[in-house]
């Protein structure tokens, strides 16, 4: 603030922003001066280039989706049909199971990422020689194209001939048809999602664990507690911010997930691994643009209903602790 006032003296007051500002004024001249300098130094039009693109390509479509979701739409003309699209959405068995699958997928992936991410992080912050290399190895899948991962794993998970099945067969286990059996398809894709994404969770946890002051662990040592006590009473509670971050990130990703599911199962067999995002794509492909947009609105509501309260809650908890 001191700085700004000096700048105020150094520079004449702007001429077009505020006509009255240069005169001895009723308001504090310093306050208006600061505002003027700010307008010069940090001009609002800096928002413009980003704002135009964001507004046009992201905000406008989001807003108009709330109209087109209530229409039968060919992209050239639309006919208002009230709630019909939503009624369709919730009456069709396939679409309802898509809603359930979306939730299952999001919960399973974020749960596993929390658990595995934390365990791997504990392992890789311990006194292990190859931990730098291991961190890289676990993180690299995050950077690999989802389509490539999807194709590779659908080959690895093939029944009878796939690598996973052959290895399990050698151990005397008959593997299921991971992606071809309606009972396992969605969970198999979720596992691959965890494989690809757990690296990020691990690194977030590593950052969180390294930020825990050593004193806490030393205190446990003094009390004669072992590794388990340290993990339970220090690591888990004190890496809570990392847990929140991982949960939020993987929920947002999991609820919107499309590309991995699409490359691995296409939502099948039947509708057993369809999620809202793949239904949006399928209805779009089939030319049901209104219905597809209604799917988008459903997803919007679902994500907002889950993520927004959760992040409010996490924020309040973080402030407490």
């Amino acid at each position: 603030m001191v700085m700004s006032s000096r700048a105020d003296e150094a520079r004449p007051v702007g001429h077009r922003d505020d006509a009255g500002a240069g005169r001895p004024a009723r308001k504090s001249p310093r306050a208006t001066g600061v505002r003027n300098v700010r307008a010069h130094t940090y001009p609002y039009w800096f928002y413009a280039p980003a704002g135009i693109v964001y507004g046009l390509i992201f905000l406008v479509p989001t807003v108009i989706s709330f109209y087109f979701a209530f229409t039968r739409w060919t992209l050239f003309e639309s006919e208002f049909i009230g709630l019909d699209n939503f009624r369709q959405f919730f009456s069709e068995q396939a679409l309802v199971s898509g809603l359930r699958n979306t939730l299952v997928y999001a919960v399973v992936t974020s749960g596993l990422k929390v658990v595995l991410g934390m365990l791997l992080a504990v392992l890789l912050t311990g006194p292990i020689r190859s931990r730098g290399l291991m961190r890289s190895v676990i993180f690299f899948p995050v950077l690999v194209s989802t389509v490539a991962v999807g194709i590779t794993f659908s080959v690895l998970l093939q029944p009878d001939v796939g690598v996973v099945s052959t290895v399990l067969a050698k151990l005397g286990i008959t593997a299921p048809d991971w992606l071809g059996d309606p009972a396992t398809a969605l969970l198999s894709v979720a596992l691959v999602d965890v494989w690809k994404g757990v690296g990020l969770a691990t690194l977030i946890y590593i950052a969180g664990i390294l930020a825990i002051p050593r004193d806490y662990y030393e205190a446990v040592d003094v009390d004669g507690g072992g590794a388990w006590t340290k993990f339970r009473n220090v690591t888990v509670p004190l890496s809570r911010p990392a847990t929140f971050t991982v949960i939020l990130l993987s929920l947002i990703g999991g609820l919107r997930s499309f590309d991995l599911i699409w490359t691995m199962t296409g939502g099948g067999p039947g509708f057993s691994s369809d999620v809202i995002a793949s239904i949006i794509y399928k209805t779009y492909q089939a030319g049901f643009f209104g219905l597809s947009t209604a799917g988008n609105v459903v997803l919007f509501i679902l994500v907002t209903l889950i993520v927004y309260p959760l992040s409010r809650y996490f924020n309040s908890r973080e402030v407490e602790s």
Binding site: Q93, F271, K282
Partner: protein, 433 residues
């Protein structure tokens, strides 16, 4: 109304804008060394099984017509290809001849506005009349066939059948007892390849011959929204037949993640005996393998009406915007003639009959082609529903996979498909829905 008119104007303007360019290039061509040659362009899909024979046919055509050269362009298959064809037609950018589907996909191109009317045209003199309904709209004929018809029914391993002493089933009950015997012999009776979801539809689409046999007007009634799969006991059978292999333990355990390329190989190796599918994948097999596989239509209840459902060949069409309509017609006529089909067979062995008068299958044609020819010759074949009715829902594949894997009961699957169709008909604004 307004929108469509202004779009039309744009299309027309675009078409006119293209005229000088096209004129320039063709005149510079003819003034070049090629002297007096006409060049026409041909658009096909990019599948290996289309591109190869197209080259062979063009070579034969250019030999027979030295003054015309044909240049090919390719387009993707599937819905991308559909959109591309529509765009090219509406912007006046279409090749002189294009190869595309017949039946309901042709109807979607608004042929009256975009395509040259070939009714009674000499270009169709060798075309088998049974093909014409698939390329006719409001009494006008727009295309000639290219390539072969396909059968949609059951591919079977002839070696397995003869080893077990089985004969081709004429009724569904015979099919059931065959399958039980095959299972007892330790061979997979029925193959499913649901990774390629489209293969699941064959149970319903391939069963159409039986539906039409019980009610010849079924297709028209269906278009008019008078009959439904879920409420017509004969039509419902297709869904029930799809569920049976899983229920009775005939279906391969890997059905959920097998592709049709893998499936057809297993069938040729005799690991599986019967495979409900279209006949086209046969052309991807080595001749020795293809020789092991035969074809029969999905059997119904009555042996006396036994027959098969066939998919018509694709059509060759000429856009109204073509500058070389005469040369284009010559090419179309050549492809749909004995000389054309012979050239076609030289590149890819036919997997079904050509619907061209006087054309015979070569000696090396695989058994599926001769099996199908027999159905056509005995007039016990019915075109698939998509050649008779524009009504088709987009989700049949997924619904059928769910039925085949036992997630959905056949009755429910049929009802789901009916509502899927209704949804589509409403979106398209079809009359009566």
């Amino acid at each position: 109304m307004k929108i469509s008119r202004s779009r039309l104007t744009i299309a027309t303007v675009a078409a006119f804008a293209l005229v000088p360019l096209a004129a320039c290039s063709s005149s510079s061509d003819s003034s070049g060394s090629s002297g007096g040659k006409t060049e026409i362009t041909l658009l096909t899909d990019n599948a290996e099984t289309t591109v190869k024979p197209a080259k062979a046919v063009i070579a034969a055509f250019e030999k027979a017509n030295p003054t015309i050269t044909v240049k090919t362009e390719t387009r993707p298959g599937g819905s991308d290809g559909d959109n591309l064809v529509k765009t090219k037609l509406s912007t006046g950018d279409m090749s002189d001849v294009f190869w595309y589907n017949s039946g309901s996909l042709l109807q979607a191109l608004s042929p009256e506005k975009t395509l040259v009317d070939l009714t009674n045209d000499p270009a169709l003199k060798d075309t088998d009349p049974s093909f014409l309904p698939a390329v006719t709209q409001n009494g006008k004929v727009y295309g000639a066939p290219w390539g072969t018809a396909m059968g949609g029914g059951i591919l079977y391993n002839k070696d397995v059948y003869s080893q077990l002493g089985l004969s081709v089933p004429k009724t569904w009950a015979e099919f059931e007892s065959n399958s039980d015997k095959i299972k007892a012999a330790g061979i997979t009776p029925v193959l499913g390849t649901l990774k390629d979801t489209f293969t699941s539809q064959l149970y319903v689409l391939g069963d159409f011959h039986n539906v039409a046999a019980s009610n010849p007007k079924w297709a028209d009634d269906y278009t008019a929204n008078k009959v439904k799969y879920a409420t017509d006991p004969v039509a419902l059978k297709g869904f029930q037949k799809a569920a049976e292999p899983k229920q009775k333990g005939w279906l391969n355990s890997s059905a959920g993640s097998l592709t049709f390329a893998q499936g057809i190989k297993q069938l040729a190796q005799g690991k599986a005996a019967q495979y409900p599918m279209l006949t086209f994948p046969i052309s991807t097999l080595a001749p020795a393998d293809a020789a092991k596989i035969g074809f029969f239509g999905i059997p119904g209840d009555d042996a006396s009406t036994n027959g098969a459902t066939i998919w018509e060949p694709g059509g060759q069409y000429i856009p109204k915007t073509s500058k070389n309509i005469d040369a284009a017609k010559k090419f179309v006529a050549f492809v749909a003639s004995v000389a054309g089909t012979d050239a076609f067979s030289s590149a890819v062995p036919p997997t079904g009959p050509y619907l061209v008068k006087g054309s015979t299958l070569p000696d090396n044609a695989p058994p599926v082609a001769t099996d199908m020819q027999a159905y056509i010759d005995s007039k016990t074949s019915t075109p698939a529903l998509e050649f008779l009715s524009p009504v088709k829902g987009p989700s049949l594949e997924q619904i059928m996979v769910a039925v085949m894997t036992g997630q959905t009961a056949p009755q429910d699957g049929a009802a789901q498909y009916d509502s899927d169709v209704t949804k589509q008909a409403k979106q398209l604004g079809l009359p009566g829905w």
